[in-house]
Symmetry: C2
Subunit: 315 residues, 2 copies
């Protein structure tokens, strides 16, 4: 029997769902607050609780897959650290959960697990070579090469937000200058908006800026969709950078499909048009673009949850 429990473990909420088959739909699911401020031991209790709430009466052969904040090592099941969770440092989450649940547990980092979801059940379905990029506060990624998730020696691979696109450019959260995350994430778009409005740019966002001193990426997106030229330019610049990154990734991986998820990707054509144009403009040879599709993620917030089914059923 190939039934499994999939868990999307986030900084705010824990979602768990029971899947009687190795694919959606789930038979039962729950969503509970993570309560991360109470520390790792409490959060582990919350995870056990969420999983037990969806556990079927017959536990025979059940496996648990978890998409988790990281960095973490999927082969040892240890979370090295988790910037969004209080006090998590070198926590052997897999072993702790296996002891409590008495069943096999598989752990993967959240962007990788979302990539598995989009590859198996979403926008990348049916393709052996898929690159997933999630563009929201930060930029994360996952790579499926020849139907296998790229993990690297210690499970740290596919940090696609930390590729240099402007050497010496804006400083990234990781401390290195000019990574794509520092240039084209939601955070970067908001920061650039504030800088330019502060310097006198004309835009419908000025009122928000003057009342709060801040502008969110969501506000920039809404303004762009209302036709604000300043906001459109910001989104176009981000899309151009992302398209350039995808061209480099095409030279590296020669994939069939790029899937873009996360909040920023919901801007649809405002973002995807400059992405596609810039991608084509930066290819070393048109062969790298032939039959290559750049698609919005199809699963929304469910990518991580259904990706965890793939994780649970892998070994």
């Amino acid at each position: 029997m190939t039934h499994s429990i999939a868990v999307d473990f986030g900084g705010t909420n824990i979602r768990a769902a029971y899947f009687p088959n190795p694919e959606p739909p789930p038979e039962k699911q729950v969503k509970i607050p993570t309560e991360s401020q109470a520390g790792p031991e409490h959060v582990i209790e919350r995870l056990v609780s969420a999983i037990e709430q969806v556990m079927p009466a017959d536990r025979e052969g059940i496996r648990v897959g978890i998409g988790s904040p990281g960095p973490l090592d999927p082969s040892t099941g240890i979370i090295f650290k988790a910037p969004n969770l209080m006090g998590w440092s070198n926590i052997p989450l897999r072993d702790k959960l296996e002891q409590r649940l008495d069943c096999p547990v598989y752990l993967g980092n959240d962007a990788n697990v979302a990539a598995l979801g989009e590859w198996k059940f979403g926008a990348g379905k049916g393709n052996a070579h898929v690159i997933y990029l999630t563009i929201s506060t930060g930029i994360g990624g996952g790579v499926i090469a020849n139907n296998q998730l790229l993990l690297g020696a210690r499970g740290l691979a596919a940090e696609l937000g930390h590729i240099t696109m402007r050497p010496g450019g804006a400083i990234c959260g990781c401390g290195v200058h000019g990574h794509i995350e520092a240039l084209a994430s939601g955070t970067a778009i908001a920061r650039t908006a504030v800088e330019r409005i502060g310097a006198g740019a004309e835009t419908s966002l000025r009122e928000i800026y003057e009342s709060s001193g801040e502008v969110s990426a969501a506000a920039v997106g809404a303004a762009a969709q209302s036709g604000d030229a300043f906001a459109i330019e910001l989104v176009t610049e981000a899309g151009t950078l992302i398209g350039h990154l995808l061209a480099d990734l095409a030279h590296i991986f020669n994939p069939q499909v790029f899937v873009l998820g996360g909040g920023v990707s919901q801007l649809s054509d405002l973002l995807f048009e400059p992405v596609r144009t810039s991608f084509a403009d930066h290819l070393m040879d048109p062969a790298y673009g032939e039959d290559v599709r750049i698609l919005p993620a199809a699963l929304g917030d469910d990518a991580g949850l259904v990706g965890a089914i793939v994780l649970a059923n892998q070994a």
Copy 2:
């Protein structure tokens, strides 16, 4: 029986060797001129001739692996084009050779095949995650991820010379600006030397420049090894760029070993020191550098030949 013939098919020479076992040493080998100016049909005759010269009396179970100029598709055995060979465009080399030789033939692009050689028998031996970079006239690459050669959807993956390191910077042979190949290859080093000497830089290379109007990368390397500060600076700049690229590749692949081959890499510490320093400086987290080694290629000109054994014995 797992015997094979390995072929290193280059623009100048064809090397073929018979390996009674799936590893070195060869029992018999030949090297003949490619005579590429005579066109594809003639070159195919040359390949058949080289292979037949090392063919054992008992052909039972023999397989042929060939490292070839590309781009090419290893799954179809078609060479799309080969800039260093006259008249090669969409040539089904594998099928043509299989018809002539009556045995299975496996084709791979030369940088990928050299990567297989260094991974299996050279500097990367014993590691599951190895990135190979060859730095000479151009920059080529090959990636072994989880003991598998990264090929991509059409076998075009691992063009690691065509990753952007300076957007808008020097134009690459492929037409895109700022690729690492346009900045840190032998060709790029020689071009920069000529530009700067022309602009008045002080260096022992001035005499060569003034007599011929040119300076080769080899001359820059020799001058650097003799302590010429100008030449050392050029090599250091190239090494710094390469180290930065390796940091990005560490975030993407999380490998255990980087192997640097090609003529430029023979500069040893003059190149490797700035590479290693820049690599460490550009990591998002020290975890990406832990136990990671950056090594010179160990097999020299034999990497492609012994890599073709791996190709022949793969399937």
